[in-house]
């Protein structure tokens, strides 16, 4: 998470130190803001505090939002904010009234507070403006401070609007599967062509140097601090569009100028703040919503995410709240290449594929015979491809950069402009896809025994779910459970449980040769060694390849080499470990109807020495954005299972 500077370098360190000492020296010589000390009179402070108490300002929604208070189980409130410097009262984290009284007190002083080292009026400028509005401060008795630093920072944005930016999920980096959200402050002087100059407001966990495997646990447990920063949008575009190859969706928010100002004021305050970053709950998407609540406290956004926060759900929530205006997409670099390549003639495509391998081909007569604007188009596409492969690749990208130089030199000699192609991402707008949780009700037979089943999945998407809005050929299932009642038994049982089940199919073609992979931890039910319904713990993983065709509509074929470990009472020695392979295919029969077939063979060499042959056939029919029908047939080693179900997404 976040950015990491490899090395500041000795000069950088000396410069930083020198600057620091100079600043310390200056701060002795020049007293800040004239004389430090009380700004107004004690009697007026008492009066303001009395009025605030009578008006019960500390209970108002605005105050609760600005201090990030949340109700606790015990009936009190507690702020999610974890930096003690964010509170002006020692009891501030859990006592809104104390905090408000202390805040008013500090407004009467120009002592520097918080990590940002400013007078309280400036460090907590949103609180100041709200309290000033509600209590109508008398400027003569409580002189307002100029807050130069805030003013400069605020003016630099020249803010016109706020956009929520959503780089979609990225399967080949498992940490980014659910996507990320941040805000972009759109300046008045920017055009769509210069929008990359905007600053963003980004919330990210800060991992200490030399972080090891422990951050898996620390991240989930909220042991890393999350900070806000204003990284320029052009760096974020590079990170997501060029390096990760992720489509970026930009949602312009319907906020008035006053709301935009409030949002920025509160953002400034958060320079004094950090939140413990919880990867599933209080993550980037969650705290970005909290900023929007600060812009318009009457909208309740966070209440919808008590336990975990999936970025696309926050986008949906904003849409439902009527806050989303214009939506624009910024396709990934690989989408640009694919779309441009698809628009070419066979001949042009042939040249593209040759030039990206060896740019010397552009001197050949065949290429030179193309019309100039078509030459330019092929060269630009080749450059896109080479940039896609050199971005973020460090030394490994050097050969691609080398080739790109030759391609671009040739391109610069053609003084033509090929017609602009309007390029859309392959994936539909994410917030228009199905909900991230799923509930299914169904019935079926297992080895002639009839059952009913209820199943639930916490998140997110599987290979057979309706694709619109989701990364194609990718599956992430987190916490899923299937409960069955067999007709000949009196009790229901947990038939399946999945902790994590991930599959990423990456079809190989002329342009991309990424591996496919899968990983699964869960439990299922087996029939084995005379045990009819035995629980079986599973951990498995595999690596493989995928290809696609468009014979019918779109077909994806895949093959995996895999390893698996099982634990069950049914096995000799209670476990077995082995390996094998899976082949299969996915096909869209119509826009709504999808089919998946697969077969696996596994041989277990350790523990219970045995083998397993499995077949799977599954079919999904989409009824609407939130409803689908499923038929699934599972065969595994002396076991046949058929399930028909109807599924609701929410």
């Amino acid at each position: 998470m976040g950015f990491w500077l490899q090395r500041l370098g000795p000069h950088g360190v000396f410069r930083t130190l020198a600057t620091f000492f100079l600043l310390v020296l200056l701060s002795w010589l020049v007293p800040p803001q004239g004389f430090s000390g009380p700004l107004g009179d004690q009697a007026y402070l008492n009066e303001l505090q009395d009025r605030a108490a009578v008006l019960r300002l500390a209970e108002e929604r605005e105050w609760q939002v600005l201090l990030h208070y949340r109700r606790t189980w015990l009936g009190g409130v507690e702020s999610m904010q974890d930096d003690p410097g964010f509170f002006l009262s020692p009891q501030g984290k859990s006592n809104p009234r104390e905090e408000l009284a202390a805040t008013l007190t500090r407004f009467f002083s120009d002592d520097l507070v918080g990590r940002s080292k400013q007078p309280a009026q400036c460090a907590f400028v949103a609180r100041y403006h709200w309290l000033q509005e509600r209590l109508q401060f008398d400027g003569a008795r409580l002189p307002p401070l100029p807050c130069e630093r805030f003013r400069q920072w605020f003016d630099e944005f020249n803010a016109e609007a706020i956009s929520l930016i959503f780089p979609t999920g990225f399967m080949n980096n498992p940490s980014s599967m659910f996507g990320h959200t941040f805000l972009r402050v759109d300046g008045k002087d920017q055009t769509p062509q210069t929008r990359i100059l905007a600053y963003t407001i980004n919330y990210a966990a800060e991992l200490p140097p030399d972080t090891g495997i422990e951050y898996v646990f620390k991240g989930v447990a909220g042991m890393y601090p999350g900070h806000f920063s204003t990284i320029p949008y052009y760096l974020k575009v590079q990170e997501y569009r060029d390096i990760d190859n992720r489509d970026i969706w930009e949602y312009r928010l319907n906020l008035t100028e006053r709301q935009v100002t409030r949002l920025l004021m509160h953002t400034w305050e958060l320079g004094n703040a950090y939140f413990d970053y919880y990867f599933f709950g209080e993550n980037c998407a969650y705290h970005i919503l909290s900023l929007i609540e600060a812009a318009e406290p009457s909208v309740h956004l966070l209440d919808a995410f008590p336990a975990y926060t999936i970025p696309v759900d926050t986008v949906r929530r904003l849409r439902e709240s009527g806050l989303v205006g214009e939506v624009i997409s910024r396709p990934s670099r690989s989408t640009l290449v694919r779309r441009k390549r698809a628009s070419m003639t066979n001949d042009e495509r042939g040249w593209l594929d040759r030039l990206i391998r060896n740019p010397a081909g552009l001197k050949e007569d065949g290429f030179q015979a193309l019309p100039f604007d078509r030459q330019a188009f092929v060269l630009e596409t080749a450059s896109d491809y080479l940039l896609q492969h050199s971005a973020g690749a460090g030394e490994e990208g050097a050969p691609y950069r080398e080739k790109n130089r030759s391609i671009l030199r040739a391109r610069s000699e053609l003084k033509v402009t090929p017609p602009d192609l309007s390029i859309q991402p392959y994936v539909k707008q994410p917030d228009l896809g199905h909900g991230t949780s799923r509930l299914g009700v169904g019935a079926g037979w297992r080895n002639q025994r009839a059952f009913e089943e209820v199943n639930f999945r916490g998140a997110y998407h599987d290979l057979l779910d309706p694709e619109p809005g989701y990364t194609p050929d990718a599956q992430i299932e987190i916490v899923s459970v299937g409960i069955r009642h067999y007709h000949d038994q009196s009790q229901a049982r947990v038939e399946r449980f999945g902790l994590i089940n991930i599959t990423s199919l990456a079809p190989i073609d002329a342009l991309s040769q990424a591996p496919s992979w899968k990983f699964n931890i869960g439990m299922n039910t087996i029939r084995y060694n005379g045990c009819q319904l035995c629980s079986n713990g599973v951990a498995s993983g595999g690596i493989g390849a995928a290809m696609e065709s468009s014979l019918f509509k779109r077909e994806v074929y895949f093959a995996f080499a895999e390893a698996e470990a099982n634990y069950s009472q049914a096995y000799d020695e209670h476990h077995r470990i082995g390996g094998g392979g899976t082949v299969g295919m996915l096909t869209d029969l119509t826009d709504r109807w999808k089919l998946m077939l697969s077969g696996s063979y596994l041989r277990y060499a350790l523990g219970d020495k045995s083998e397993d042959i499995r077949w799977f056939a599954g079919s999904r029919y989409t009824l609407s954005q939130s409803w689908a029908l499923r038929v699934e047939y599972n065969h595994r080693d002396r076991d046949d299972d058929v399930l028909l179900s109807v599924q609701a997404f929410f």
């Binding site: 951050y215 898996v216 003084k415």
Partner: protein
Amino acid sequence: MLDYISETLPLAGEALIQKGGGLMKKTVMLAVVGMFMATQAGFALAANPDSGPGCGLGHVAFQNYPHQKTIGVQLMEATTNASFGTQTFGISSGTSNCTNDGKFWAEHKVNAFAALNFENLSQDMAQGRGEHLASLATLMGIPATQQPVFFAMTQEKYASLMAAGETSPVALVKALNEAVATHPMLAKVSAE
């Protein structure tokens, strides 16, 4: 039932890592590590301060980033360096060499942009158009009406501009400024 799972799964996982072989181990590590990481991996920004615009940003390359071809180990490596984003662009974080409260100092804006967008800029200059080139022109103070002329000039002088850019982004910006100053149409505008 859930107790049963929580007891058995760690056992299975342990056996897997010990006996499952290299590939399996790697896959398990990758998926577990990645899964619980933050929602985005870090950049590793390598900067050479000697050739930089004076604020520690020289030729900046995104290194060791988990590229598609090299997912896995590098995910970890990407996070092992000192923080760039939160310190340089931290809100109300005070001054640094490049930034003031998280925003670039005015005098560093152009050089920093050229350093951080060098590859995209070179593509735009060769094509004579694009958002990176338009943004650079805006930062250099070239009025919108004159930008098409500026774009054509960068395309025309692509080879020599890139030769300068290969040495350092500062040299590229310097070469661009000189090209503007000596251009019959652009010089007039920049002089005004």
